[in-house]
C-alpha cells in the first residue's frame, strides 16, 4: 500500500540468480530427453516395421473344422478379424430408426419406401411387406431374424440360412457326421427352428480352410451350380474345391450367396439356375423349362419369379470379370498396415471414401480418386434413370392387366399372353434392381436388361389388346420399311400437300369376341 505523500524509494529488483541458474540446464535436459526419446521411438518404429515385413503371422491357437467362433481365428489373424468386425460400422446417413420394440439401435433404410413401385410388383409375396437396403455382413443373421418376411403369417424354410448365417456351425449342430444329410435337414426345417442353431453371420470358416487358410467353397448349392455352368462351357464334373484357380476362388467364395437362386420342391433345396448359363435370359429360360414360379402376382394372376441379388452373374458379364478382376479386388482390396498388406475384410463399396477408391480402383486405373468416382456415378445415374423408366413401363403393364381382369370382358388368351410378358418384364426389372451395383458390375448388360423390361412391358400391353408385334431379328431380311405416299409434285406451294393416309391406331377396346393372339413370348 503506497500513498502520494509518501513516495516509495525505487529499488532495483534483485535478480533471482538461484532460479535462472537452473533454467538453462533444465531446458537442455528437457530438449535432450525429447530428442533422445524421439529417436528411440523412431528406432522402435523401424524395428517394428522390419519385424512386420519378415514375420507377418504368429500362430497363437490351432484352428480346426470346429473353430466356428471368428474370435478364435482373430487370435491368429488380428488384422483380418478386426476389419471383418468393422462390417458392423454403418454411416449415419444410411441408418434408419427401427420400430418400437425392435432390439436394434439402428437399421437399414426401407427400399419399399424409397420406391413403392416395388410394393405393386410384389403383391402376393412377402417382399411387399418389408425389404431394406443391404448392410454389413455383421448384420445378416440378426436382420433376417427380425425382418417381417420370416414372421407369421409368412412361413420360411431353413434354406434361408444358407446365406444369412455361418452354415458349417448349423450343419455341425444338426449332424456332425453327415454334412450332406444335415444340409438337407436344415433346408426343410422351419426357419425359426433352424435359426436357433445359427450363432454367427458369415465368418472365417465359411470361406477359409482352417488348416491352410486357402479359400474354399462350403455351400453345396454353389458346388452344383458352378458344375452345371462349367458343363455349358465344355468342362465336365467341375469341382471348385479341386479345379478352380485361386483367382476364380476370389469370386467364387462370394458367389456362394451373391447370386440368383430358388428353392426346389418340398425339400426346399437351394438351387442356382445356371444350367443354361449365367445371364438373366438363361435363368428365365431355365425357370420356364421347369415350369417354376415363386408366386402368383395377386393383382394380375401372373405366375412370376422373384429375382434375388445376382451380383456374381452380373459381374460375370462385365469388363472387370473379363480382365480377371474379382469381387475381392474391389470389395476387399489390399490395405497397407505398416510394412505389410492385408486383405480388407470389411467388405463394402469401393466408393465408401477416398482411401477405399485409392485401394481398389487406383491399383489398376492411373487416374485420380475424383475421376474414378465420377465415372462410377455416371454409370449409376444412367442406369437409375433408365431403370426408372422401365419400372414405369412394368408398373403400367401390371395396372393394365389388373384393369382388364376387373373389366371382365377381355379375351382370357390375351390376358394370359400379357401375363407371360409380365413374367419376363418383372423378373428382369427385379433382377436389375435387386442386384447391388446399380448397373456398375456390367453397365451395358444392365442397360440391355432394362431395355428388355421396357420392350416386354410394351408387348404385354399390346398383347392385352390382342396385338402381336413382330420381333425383328435380321432387319435386312425380315423387315419391310413403311414409306409415306409421295406428295404430288405439281401441288401449288400455297396449299399444303395432303397428308398420307394414316394407319388407323387400334384403340384399347376390350372385346371377348376378338381372335386370340397367335404368338406368346
Amino acid at each position: 500500500m503506497s500513498t502520494a505523500e509518501e513516495p516509495q524509494p525505487v529499488v532495483e529488483p534483485k535478480p533471482d540468480h538461484s532460479r535462472r541458474r537452473w533454467l538453462l540446464p533444465a531446458a537442455f535436459f528437457v530438449i535432450g530427453a525429447l530428442i533422445t526419446g524421439g529417436i528411440v521411438a523412431l528406432l522402435m518404429n523401424i524395428a517394428q516395421r522390419k519385424a512386420e515385413s519378415t514375420q507377418p503371422f504368429f500362430q497363437v491357437v490351432q484352428l480346426t473344422e470346429t473353430s466356428f467362433d471368428p474370435a478364435e481365428w482373430g487370435k491368429n489373424f488380428p488384422a483380418q478379424y478386426e476389419s471383418w468386425a468393422k462390417t458392423a460400422e454403418m454411416p449415419a446417413s444410411e441408418q434408419a430408426t427401427p420400430p418400437a420394440g425392435d432390439p436394434r439401435a439402428f437399421m437399414a433404410k426401407s427400399k419399399l419406401a424409397a420406391d413403392p413401385r416395388l410394393v405393386t410388383m410384389w403383391q402376393g409375396y412377402a417382399f411387399a411387406v418389408e425389404y431394406n437396403e443391404p448392410r454389413g455382413h455383421a448384420y445378416m443373421l440378426l436382420d433376417q431374424q427380425l425382418v417381417k418376411r420370416v414372421q407369421p403369417p409368412f412361413k420360411q424354410p431353413g434354406s434361408c440360412l444358407n446365406c444369412h448365417a455361418s452354415v458349417p456351425e448349423v450343419l455341425n449342430a444338426i449332424d456332425p457326421k453327415d454334412p450332406a444329410g444335415a444340409w438337407a435337414t436344415m433346408n426343410k426345417m422351419p426357419y425359426a427352428d433352424a435359426a436357433k442353431l445359427a450363432k454367427h453371420p458369415v465368418t472365417c470358416i465359411d470361406c477359409h480352410d482352417p488348416a491352410t487358410m486357402k479359400l474354399r467353397i462350403t455351400r453345396p448349392a454353389f458346388v452344383e451350380g458352378i458344375k452345371a455352368y462349367k458343363a455349358t462351357q465344355g468342362i465336365a464334373n467341375f469341382d471348385p474345391n479341386k479345379d478352380a484357380t485361386n483367382n476364380e476362388m476370389r469370386a467364387f467364395v462370394c458367389a456362394q450367396c451373391h447370386v440368383e437362386y430358388y428353392f426346389k420342391g418340398d425339400a426346399k433345396t437351394l438351387v442356382f439356375p445356371w444350367k443354361n448359363g449365367l445371364t438373366a435370359n438363361n435363368a428365365l429360360d431355365y425357370y420356364d423349362s421347369i415350369g417354376f414360379s415363386d408366386f402368383t402376382q395377386s393383382l394380375t394372376g401372373a405366375k412370376v419369379l422373384k429375382a434375388q441379388h445376382p451380383d456374381y452373374e452380373t459381374w460375370a458379364q462385365g469388363i472387370h470379370a473379363k480382365n480377371g478382376v474379382t469381387c475381392a479386388d474391389c470389395h476387399m482390396p489390399y490395405t497397407r498396415q505398416g510394412a505389410v498388406k492385408v486383405s480388407d475384410h470389411q467388405v463394402r463399396s469401393p466408393m465408401a471414401d477416398e482411401a477405399q477408391i485409392n485401394k481398389s480402383c487406383l491399383t489398376c486405373h492411373h487416374q485420380t480418386e475424383a475421376e474414378m468416382k465420377g465415372r462410377v456415378e455416371t454409370i449409376q445415374s444412367t442406369w437409375k434413370e433408365s431403370s426408372s423408366k422401365s419400372f414405369d413401363a412394368l408398373d403400367q403393364l401390371i395396372r393394365d392387366i389388373a384393369a382388364a381382369k376387373a373389366a371382365g370382358n377381355v379375351n382370357p388368351d390375351w390376358i394370359a399372353a400379357a401375363q407371360q410378358w409380365q413374367r419376363k418384364a418383372q423378373f428382369f426389372q427385379d433382377y436389375t434392381v435387386s442386384e447391388n451395383s446399380r448397373g456398375f458390375h456390367a453397365p451395358q448388360y444392365a442397360l440391355s436388361i432394362v431395355a428388355d423390361v421396357t420392350d416386354a412391358a410394351r408387348r404385354g400391353q399390346l398383347a392385352l389388346r390382342g396385338i402381336t408385334e413382330p420381333v425383328t431379328k435380321d432387319p435386312a431380311k425380315d423387315y419391310t420399311p413403311m414409306k409415306a405416299t409421295p406428295a404430288p409434285t405439281t401441288a401449288a406451294p400455297a396449299t399444303p400437300a395432303p397428308a398420307a393416309t394414316p394407319t388407323p391406331i387400334v384403340n384399347p377396346v376390350y372385346s371377348p369376341a376378338a381372335p386370340a393372339p397367335t404368338a406368346t413370348p
Binding site: L43, A339, K359, L362, H366
Partner: protein
C-alpha cells in the same frame, strides 16, 4: 574417488560439462545406431533396392526390375541430374527424403502411392534427357493448344507398371 574425478574435471563446473558431454554422446550414439540400423547410408548412394527399404515401393521395384528400364536407376528418372545440377539434386533428395520418412513413419499415405506434380514434370524432363533427340519433332507444344505433350500420358508404364 569422487574428489579425484572432480579434480580431474577442474571443479564442479567442469564435472557438469563432462556429464553433459556424456549425455550428448548417448544421444548421438542412439542416433548413429538408429541411422545404421535403418541402413541410412544407403540413401546417399543410388542402388534402386534402397527405394524399397521401407517396403512401400515393393510393387514399383518388382515391376521396374522386370521392365524395359531395369538398367536405369530410380534416380535417373526421379531426380535432377546429379553432376550438372548438384544443388537441385540435393534439394530434390532432401525434399523427397523428408516426406518419405515422415509419411512412412506416421503411416499417413494411401495404399496406392501417387507421384506429386512437380516430380512428374521432373520425370518428363528426364525422359527427354535420353530420348530427346528421337522425339524432338513431336515433343514441341501443340500448335493449337500450346499444351506440352506429356510422355507419361501414354507411356505411363515404361518405368514400372504401377
Amino acid at each position: 574417488m569422487v574428489s579425484k574425478l572432480l579434480a580431474l574435471a577442474g571443479g564442479m563446473r567442469g564435472f557438469l560439462v563432462l556429464i553433459g558431454a556424456g549425455l550428448v554422446g548417448v544421444t548421438v550414439g542412439i542416433m548413429g545406431f538408429t541411422f545404421g540400423y535403418a541402413n541410412g547410408f544407403a540413401y546417399f548412394a543410388d542402388d534402386p533396392a534402397t527405394c524399397k527399404q521401407c517396403h512401400s515401393m515393393n510393387k514399383q521395384y518388382d515391376a521396374w526390375a522386370k521392365g524395359s528400364h531395369k538398367t536405369v536407376a530410380c534416380q535417373e528418372c526421379h531426380s535432377p541430374e546429379k553432376h550438372s545440377q548438384p544443388v537441385q539434386w540435393l534439394l530434390s533428395e532432401a525434399d523427397n527424403g523428408f516426406w518419405h520418412s515422415l509419411k512412412f513413419t506416421t503411416g499417413a499415405y494411401p495404399t496406392n502411392i501417387k507421384i506429386r506434380d512437380h516430380n512428374k514434370e521432373l520425370v518428363r524432363e528426364n525422359c527427354l534427357n535420353c530420348h530427346g533427340n528421337l522425339v524432338s519433332q513431336i515433343e514441341q507444344p501443340s500448335l493449337h493448344s500450346n499444351a506440352q505433350i506429356d510422355c507419361l500420358r501414354c507411356h505411363n508404364e515404361v518405368g514400372h507398371k504401377r
